[in-house]
């Protein structure tokens, strides 16, 4: 009985660690050149919010120059989906231009079903803001 309990402890501990680690995905601001839209930062921030919502993210942080969203986990037939956190950083470049950087953080739990959303978010933003420079 004790041996059986011991055998279950290791997988249980691994599961607990992976679940904990799975919640700790934090996007990091990319260091490369930003995507530049010819709109003020307030307009670009709203477009970023809208594009996250359209992609199925729940908004977690809304700041004038930063927006963050989390995609709820969804059970699938094979791998499921969700668990990604996307951060959108805005950089005002004068009165009518704004630089945008996007990063997708994937959690270790269910990583097989996760994807990088950066291009999707920028594409959706460009529908309302126009093509980036």
């Amino acid at each position: 009985m004790q041996g059986h309990r011991g055998r279950c402890l290791v997988p249980a501990a691994m599961l607990a660690i992976s679940l904990t680690a799975g919640c700790a995905s934090i996007p990091k601001m990319p260091s490369g050149a930003p995507t530049v839209f010819g709109k003020p930062s307030a307009v670009v921030q709203k477009a970023a919010l809208d594009s996250l919502i359209v992609a199925g993210f729940e908004i977690q942080k809304t700041e004038p120059l930063y927006v963050e969203g989390f995609r709820p986990r969804r059970v699938g037939l094979v791998v499921g989906s969700g668990g990604e956190t996307v951060g959108v950083w805005l950089e005002p470049l004068g009165d009518s231009r704004t630089g945008v950087r996007v990063d997708t953080a994937k959690s270790s739990m269910g990583i097989v079903g996760q994807r990088t959303w950066n291009a999707d978010i920028l594409n959706e933003m460009s529908k309302s803001l126009g093509k980036p420079e």
Binding site: D50, R74, V75, G76, S81, R115
Partner: protein
């Protein structure tokens, strides 16, 4: 002999029931729905959750109105089932009522699929309030 045949029947039933459940899972599968509204300008008082809301998908409002909310409904399904506008209507109406809208216009639909088993359907609309 008779004992083994009586055992086989429940086994066959179990297998066939499992197959039905599996096929049902493939067809219906798992669906999640997210919905929200964003006030446009000053927030309006909510109407009752099951209030009457006109959906003007292919027609324009006949009375003067003002836009009061942006409505978003996002449905994601795994498997082979695809969500459509009909399946989004209850949540659209609910959010319209919560935002104080009388009707829904400017309906935009988007469907995407990814990772072979995930299908997303998103509808964006505008909630309007008729002017007296």
């Amino acid at each position: 002999m008779s004992r083994s045949s009586t055992r086989r029947v429940p086994v066959q039933r179990t297998v066939s029931r499992s197959a039905v459940v599996f096929l049902g899972t493939l067809l219906v599968s798992c669906a999640t729905t997210q919905s929200r509204f964003t006030p446009l300008g000053q927030a309006r008082p909510s109407r009752p959750e099951n209030c009457s809301v006109a959906i003007l998908k292919d027609s324009a409002p006949q009375k003067a109105f003002e836009r009061v909310s942006r409505l978003d409904v996002h449905i994601e399904r795994t498997g082979f089932a695809q969500a459509d506008f009909e399946s989004a209507i209850p949540e659209l109406k609910k959010q319209a009522c919560l935002s104080g809208a009388d009707a829904i216009i400017e309906i935009q639909e988007r469907s995407t699929g990814f990772r072979f088993e995930n299908r997303a359907y998103h509808v964006t609309a505008t909630g309007i309030k008729f002017k007296d």
